[in-house]
Amino acid sequence: MDLELGPEDEEFRQETRTWLASHVPAEPLPSLETAKGFAAHREWERELYGGRWSAVTWPEEYGGRGASLLRWLLFEEEYYAARAPGRVSQNGISLLAPTLFAHGTDEQVARVLPPMARGQTIWAQAWSEPGAGSDLAALRSSAVRTDGGWLLRGHKTWSSRAAFADRAFGLFRSHPGADRPHHGLTYLMFDLAAPGVTVRPIGRLDGKPAFAELRLDDVFVPDADVIGEPGQGWQVAMSTAGNERGLTLRSPGRFTAAAGRLAALWRATADPADTALRDRVADALIGARAYQLSAYAGVARLTEGGTPGAGASLTKVFWSELDIALHETALDLLGPRGELADAAPEAPDHGSWADGWVFALAGPVYAGTNEIQRDIIAERLLGLPKGRR
């Protein structure tokens, strides 16, 4: 049991740090939830790709470095510590790509991944529907068989990034007569510019169009864009859901960086006598370090053949609540300037605390609400009996 990096891992970390030091923009990019910011972030993805940093764990042939999970953790630590831009390709890289590696055809992998790595195709997710949030088995949007493919009809919502993205992936009901509600679904990729797609951006709490509503009116999807077997979408999606809740959605590096910045803010602005705030800053540091060490242990287990399983639910609850507490602490530290929205000219740190707080508030909702996650923890990790909830 140790915490020492081997020489090659250390070299990888140094290479990451050096590259980022000379490439991360001096001024933060505009918010990626705006048209201008989206474009700037897409440009940044291209630059990352140029250094082969956009998807370090992928095989080299698709633009990656074949990096181990440990190195991915190190990359993320360095990335966020360097205050590099948010990842507009996140949905594709952390949700769709693992699904394609697991269930996609060789042709799909070869066709979809390289433009994703280059930031050329930005992906949105299309899971939720107005009547199906936590209860994904209640999906009603349909995929109807047609010549050489499927016609999508229905209504998706809360589609992250869809206001500006190029393509989307999601689940559709293809076999309405199936015996159970989560049977008979198909996992599909489709073009957001295709005929029949209407994208209506939806503003998040601070008004930025972080997601969109999709109306689908006989949108044609060729067979080549079905992932896995038609009707088996639920099983295909579950592997993605596992990833979503696990490490790859919000790496420890995000939180070690944020906690470090919070500590710096405290050192710079706090009244040393204010132990109430000190305790909250200390708790953010403790939480970030706990998640970091927990991820090191998790990576070691995965490397030796373990699976994340319901442990991903623990992680998701933990980081989402840490993120809110950390940002609330920052806003309280900032005093009167803590009330300013990120768009305010005088917002501290380019508005990153205000923006981070709004972003954090969604954490307990998306990727499976924390209520559902706690049910999963209790039932799968503690073995408590399933209730009606």
Partner: protein, 348 residues
């Protein structure tokens, strides 16, 4: 002792509530945030017509006298309906001007206008922070800096708050209107009043968030049942109700104390009144924020959208928690320090 609203006070609150419910305040809020104060001004005038601003103005200046309980009743409704504008600030300015007296004609000029709803006053105490609320929209902006009262000498760019209807502005120092220790003393009383009314607003915000969330969880179904039947949802909302129900008597209790102190004109009780107000602010501010977090979580992604009017109250809850006294400042007012005697709140 009868620590309950009189029938008249309760009816006044209900009347205001009905009036505001009919006034489409969400549309006024959105317009205000976008820089169009017209619909908000209209609501403001209706409130003045109902007598709300007169509650902050003495009779000799054409008001109803300073009536803290009725003001609290009003501000709970203003919070419940998310009325925009420098509401607590206008009342605080009235308190300040009244306390300063008529020497410079300030009170004669402004108090009747405030009572009539013709004067929307932005007011900032610069010891508390550099920003004045809605200064760009107000008819006048008053700034206190230590023992000097000035008019604003010009507004900087709008600095939007996390609650976008709160348009904060840094103001340049303008003409000196008054100075001396009386300004400092009057500003302290104005700040206490603003703090109490902000607590009342927060209480109304929290009530609204709870009501709307309860209604939502009764009709939203997942897994074949209303989500309001899940124990986790029930317990979370029970905790919100608990926080609001226990904040409410603190808010009214502080109003009763302030009413007593105002009538008696007793400076000696200011400390105890200030403690009661600080308690009310902590409890109401935290209860409203707790309600906002629960509302957001239980509405799911819907609660996170700007489109749903719920967001007006979620954002306001956060802003009001800090306005006119953060929880930390208020707790420091309750227990200033072991060395100081401070106010003994209960027998020690």
């Amino acid at each position: 002792m009868r620590f309950l609203l009189d029938a008249e006070q309760a009816e006044f609150g209900r009347t205001l509530g009905r009036m505001l419910a009919a006034a489409d305040t969400p549309a006024a809020v959105r317009a205000w945030g976008a820089g169009d104060s017209g619909p908000g001004r209209a609501a403001w005038r209706r409130l003045a017509g109902a007598g709300v601003f007169g509650l902050a103005v003495p009779e000799k200046h054409e008001g109803a006298g300073l009536l803290p309980i009725e003001l609290v009743v009003s501000f709970v409704e203003l919070g419940r309906h998310a009325v925009p504008g420098p509401l607590a600030e206008t009342v605080a300015a009235a308190v300040l001007l009244d306390r300063l007296g008529d020497a410079d004609g300030l009170a004669d000029t402004w108090l009747p206008a405030i009572a009539a709803g013709d004067a929307m006053v932005s007011y900032a105490d610069l010891s508390r922070g550099p920003y004045a609320l809605d200064a760009a929209t107000a008819d006048v902006t008053l700034l206190v800096d230590g023992d000097t009262l000035r008019a604003s000498g010009g507004n900087g760019p709008v600095q939007p708050s996390v609650d976008p209807v709160r348009r904060l502005t840094r103001c340049a120092a303008g003409a000196v209107l008054a100075s001396g220790p009386a300004v400092r003393a009057a500003a302290a009383q104005a700040a206490d009043t603003a703090r109490l009314l902000t607590a009342a607003q927060a209480l109304g915000v929290g009530r609204r968030l709870l009501d709307d969330t309860v209604a939502y969880v009764k009709q939203r179904t997942q897994f074949g049942v209303a989500i309001g039947s899940f124990q986790a949802v029930k317990h979370r909302l029970a905790d919100v109700l608990l926080a609001l129900e226990l904040a409410e008597p603190l808010v009214y209790g502080a109003a009763v104390e302030l009413a007593g102190a105002s009538q008696a004109g007793v400076a000696g009780s200011a400390d105890a009144t200030g403690v009661g107000i600080a308690m009310a602010k902590v409890a109401a501010g935290e209860a409203a924020y707790t309600a906002a977090r629960a509302a957001l979580q239980l509405h799911g992604a819907l609660g996170y959208t700007d489109e749903l009017d719920l967001s007006l109250w979620i954002r306001k809850a956060r802003a009001l928690r800090g306005a006119w006294g953060t929880p930390a400042e208020c707790r420091a007012r309750i227990l200033p320090g072991p060395a100081s005697a401070g106010a003994q709140i209960f027998h020690e």
